[in-house]
């Protein structure tokens, strides 16, 4: 195919700014989908994606407009999937920046747009929802010009809902986005920018050919994974999958090569021809690195094997989360899981519960601390119980983020207040327009995983947006707070916090547990401690009365059944320091902590 007739682009947009609707209109306008089969959010295939209005898996589709082949590469729509976004962008020469004209540009859109510019992508900006009464295209265009340097008069105005201006937008893509530059004769290099697992076909990868060609039956080398696979099928999505014999330079399509595990065909992987390999892989590959960790346990211990099976199967489709077995005195057997971020954690958990019908409980999210020991060694700690004892620790570093917050100016005070309370340090502050402000902070990741996003949203009535990127490690006064029931620590509640909030955490948790732990035959102390030092204490007073007053002829059967149930109930209790605690108490405590 003549590369001059190819345009590869993605749409950069915020949640609810209309990306899926625009994709739908493009599919309709170009006749890619028979109108009888059209449905909303056509490219979002998972139920979860439709419900949450976000794209989790990248999709791509080939459409034809005015004699040109356009590959629309749909990027994941959340900050947790920044790396996936970068790989999707790497597969394009251009990007449509789609901004809701009633809302203005959002932090994450801005970040993605900067990233696109770093990849030298041509940006075609468009203001969407101009049909809305609240639309303020003038202000939004001025903002975009100010922050991105795109001339306001080149910014298109469309309504993805009505279809108004969508044709013009595609024309602009053809005119402004450069065609791909690869050559057929070069050594083959193709980029995998997404992989998913199909139970019949194995791994199906989305692929962009940069140089050379890929043909059916050919043997390929996966340069980072170091594996060799034979091409079973290649094809393009129109959006239905259509097999082709060959994909040439600049083309985007799919690849099936008998791979059983998405971990062997990760986003960013470079594929080359085994018989004539390229010298260097494409730039930009990165191993996915979990940032947020938590323990996931089945509420019913009997479900453990099903949970393992479910994790194995999800992992086939999502190489970016990790898991390994762990056990807890309070929660039994489960898995320590690592995620790209909080949303990723939520999504995995929700998929486990929904697609595999499991009831799960998760411990509070933690981050990966790095403890430097007095003997000069250091250790990564993603589970608070693994933190060495205080006497062996020289200092502890915690992962940091640079966060960018875009907020309407009237919420500046409350946003700054939130950031200060979370140990954040202001690095930059800039007015995008008289009404909108950009705040850049450096903040510990641990403070962000603790409901920061929810707080930000609720303090700004949903108007603020957030983007983040990792910013290395920083030393802080961090301590582990243990919760002890009858002097025995309950691992599931151990947490690493900044010293300044340790007492508060201890008080909150001891009060909560005092309410949740049933009274025993003796007084039960509930303590929060840092090392050997108790910072908060509550007592569950001994129960003094648990007896039926009457037991005569007519009461005996009922009473025996009651007591037999009580006896059965006792067997199911977790025993912590002689204290019988129903697992529900731990579960409630963790739920409250959410």
């Amino acid at each position: 195919m003549d590369t001059a007739l190819i345009r590869n682009f993605s749409i950069i947009s915020h949640v609810d700014h209309g990306k899926s609707t625009l994709s739908d209109r493009i599919l309709e306008l170009t006749g890619a989908v028979d109108p009888r089969f059209m449905r909303e959010q056509y490219l979002d295939s998972m139920d979860l994606e439709r419900e949450r209005g976000i794209t989790i898996k990248a999709q791509n589709v080939r459409v034809v407009h005015r004699g040109h082949v356009l590959h629309l590469i749909d990027t994941p729509g959340h900050v947790d999937f920044g790396y996936e976004v970068s790989r999707s962008l790497a597969a394009c020469e251009g990007a449509v920046l789609l901004v809701d004209a009633s809302q203005g540009i959002q932090a994450q859109t801005l970040a993605n747009c900067y990233q696109a510019m770093e990849h030298d992508l041509e940006i075609v900006a468009a203001l969407n929802k101009i049909d809305l009464l609240a639309a303020d295209p003038e202000r939004c265009a001025a903002e975009i010009e100010k922050v991105l340097g795109l001339p306001a008069d080149e910014i298109l105005r469309i309504s993805a809902k009505t279809g108004d201006g969508v044709g013009t937008l595609l024309d602009a893509v053809i005119e402004r986005v450069p065609p791909p530059s690869g050559r057929r004769t070069s050594a083959t290099r193709a980029l995998i920018f997404d992989s998913s697992y199909d139970q019949y076909r194995g791994v199906v990868s989305s692929i962009r050919v940069f140089d050379g060609t890929i043909s059916t039956g050919e043997r390929l080398r996966f340069m980072q994974a170091g594996a060799v696979h034979d091409v079973e099928e290649i094809g393009v999505r129109t959006p239905d999958s259509v097999a082709v014999d060959e994909l040439g330079p600049g083309e985007v399509g799919y690849l099936i090569a008998g791979i059983k595990n998405v971990g062997e065909a990760r986003s960013g992987e470079t594929v080359t021809r085994a018989s004539a390999p390229a010298a260097e892989p494409l730039a930009g590959y990165r191993d996915p690195k979990p940032m947020v960790f938590c323990g996931i346990y089945p509420i019913d211990g009997d479900q453990l094997p099903f949970l393992r099976d479910a994790l194995d199967r999800l992992k086939l489709n999502d190489s970016s989360f990790t898991f390994e077995p762990e056990s807890s005195r309070a929660l039994g057997f489960g898995f320590r899981c690592g995620f790209l971020g909080l949303l990723h954690m939520e999504i995995v958990r929700e998929r486990l519960e929904r697609e595999f019908d499991l009831s799960l409980i998760a411990t509070a999210p933690s981050v990966a601390y790095r403890a430097y020991l007095t003997d000069g060694s250091d250790v990564d700690v993603d589970n608070p119980v693994d933190l060495p004892e205080a006497s062996r620790i020289d200092h502890v570093d915690e992962p940091m983020l640079d966060i960018t917050i875009l907020t309407p100016a009237q919420y500046t005070g409350t946003v700054m207040e939130l950031c200060q309370a979370r140990r954040a340090e202001l690095s930059r502050m800039e007015y995008l327009s008289p009404e909108r402000l950009e705040l850049v902070y450096r903040i510990p990741l641990a403070e962000v995983v603790k409901d920061f996003f929810d707080q930000l949203k609720s303090r700004t009535k949903g108007y603020a947006s957030l983007d983040y990127e990792p910013a290395g490690y920083s030393t802080a006064n961090l301590v582990r707070v243990d919760l002890l029931i009858n002097h025995v620590p309950v691992d599931a509640f151990s947490t690493i916090v900044h010293r300044s909030s340790a007492d508060n955490y201890g008080r909150r948790m001891t009060e909560k547990l005092r309410e949740l732990i049933p009274r025993q035959l003796f007084d039960v102390p509930i303590q929060a401690a840092i090392g050997g030092r108790v910072v908060a204490r509550e007592t569950v007073k001994a129960k003094r009365k648990d007896v039926l007053a009457k037991c005569y002829g007519g009461d005996i059967t009922r009473k025996r059944k009651l007591l037999e149930r009580q006896k059965e109930g006792k067997k199911k209790m977790k025993n912590i320091g002689r204290v019988e605690v129903p697992q529900e108490a731990f579960i409630s405590a963790l739920r409250l902590e959410d």
Binding site: L521, F522, K543, R544, K545, D546, V547, L548, A549, K550, C551, Y552, G553, G554, I556, T557, K559, R560, L562, L563, E564, Q566, K567, G569, K570
Partner: protein, 394 residues
């Protein structure tokens, strides 16, 4: 006794095929419980099978009870009763002659203990004399409290205090006087503690008023007010008793009664020496007894069954010649063993020490190979029951 008797109690087909075990009862005690489901008014805490609007059924109910007894004894292998207990409801609500009619239908062993529960307002000499001359040996009075404001929060009205006022004494003094005049061998008084309006001083006054009389009741049942589902009390959380308060009341009463010579018999029962209730002891030792009347429960050798709950259905069943039994269960060996231990743990007999290996030492007295609950242990008897170990105890 078992074969013919079990047939009366509507055995299941499985039961018929089962090999009949050797009776454990032999010459041992046998009780008859007669349920009288009529009350003048229903108290707010009461969940018993009793009715305040069915007095018109009394006559046919009495006939039905008599017929049920005759049927049971007609099978030929029931022993005469060593104890009879008329409970309710309010047995004294029946005309005394009707109660006597039922009693006469029951074959009695020499020296049988025969108890009638009686509301204080029904305790006229005439009525009690009719009972006594028909063989009743023991009265049990549902006084519940001697304080008007406590009775009011229990939703219990009593006209007995007016009569007591006329005699110039308290209700318990009036009852003690009645009992003495008629000449019963023993008697009991029921009290309830933990009502919302009751203070510690109130409880002290009630206990002192009862125990310091010149002829105090030789048997006392003290019940923690309990919220039963579906009662008026249950729908009024402001009147719910507090567990810790009730525990204090219990400990206080327990110490007070033992100081006055009462022996603790069972969780809620105390007696002066020689006045333990033999009928109640059948319940707590897995003894055999026949329950007569609506909602009455029976037990013979590990098999329990119970009659229809409403008097109408009970009467109809008896009148039409069918069985009044509404449900039954046959205990497995394990259930029987657990039940035996669970019941015994509530009493001063306790359980074999080996059956309660894990109870905290400060709740249990261990003596002579038996584990017996002390007063604090009694208050958490359910929890301790759930720690009973079966099998090892045998």
């Amino acid at each position: 006794m078992t074969a013919g008797y079990a047939a009366y109690a509507q055995p299941s087909a499985r039961e018929m095929r089962r090999q009949v075990p050797t009776s454990r009862s032999g010459g041992s005690p046998f009780g008859v419980y007669v349920h009288i489901p009529f009350c003048r008014e229903r108290c707010d805490y009461c969940a018993f099978a009793t009715y305040s609007d069915r007095d018109h059924l009394m006559r046919s109910y009495v006939e039905a009870c008599v017929e049920e007894i005759e049927r049971a004894y007609g099978s030929g292998d029931l022993p005469p009763a060593s104890s009879v207990f008329f409970g309710g409801g309010t047995p004294s609500r029946l005309p005394p002659e009707d109660l006597v009619t039922i009693l006469r239908a029951i074959p009695l062993k020499e020296g049988a203990e025969v108890t009638v529960e009686c509301n204080p307002e029904d305790a006229q000499i005439e009525r009690l004399s009719v009972y006594a001359s028909a063989g009743v040996t023991r009265m049990s009075f549902g006084v519940e409290s001697t304080l008007e404001h406590v009775l009011a929060t229990l939703g219990r009205t009593s006209s007995a205090s007016e009569r007591a006022d006329e005699t110039g004494g308290s209700v318990p003094e009036m009852l003690a006087d009645d009992v003495r005049q008629v000449g019963f061998k023993s008697w009991n008084l029921d009290l309830i503690y933990g009502a919302a309006s009751e203070t510690h001083e109130d409880w002290h006054d009630v206990l002192v008023g009862v125990v310091s009389m010149s002829c105090p009741p030789p048997h006392l049942s003290l019940y923690a007010l309990t919220v039963e589902l579906g009662t008026p009390l249950a729908s009024d959380p402001s009147r719910y008793p507090d567990d810790d308060v009730q525990a204090e009341r219990y400990e206080y009463a327990s110490a007070f009664l033992s100081a006055h010579g009462y022996v603790w018999e069972e969780i809620s029962n105390w007696a002066l020496p020689g006045h333990a209730c033999r009928h109640n002891d059948l319940y707590w030792s897995q003894g055999n007894y026949l329950g007569v009347g609506s909602g009455a429960h029976s037990h013979v050798d590990g098999r329990r069954w119970w009659n229809m709950r409403t008097p109408e259905r009970y009467i109809r069943a008896i009148k039409t010649g069918s069985s009044p039994v509404a449900g039954e269960e046959t205990l497995s060996e394990a259930e029987r063993e657990f039940e035996e231990l669970a019941l015994s743990l509530r009493t001063r007999r306790g359980v074999p020490e080996s059956a309660l290996p894990t109870a905290p030492a400060d709740l249990v007295l261990r003596e002579g190979g038996r584990a017996v609950l002390n007063v604090r242990g009694r208050l958490v008897a359910n929890d301790l029951t759930a720690r009973l170990v079966t099998g090892a105890a045998l």
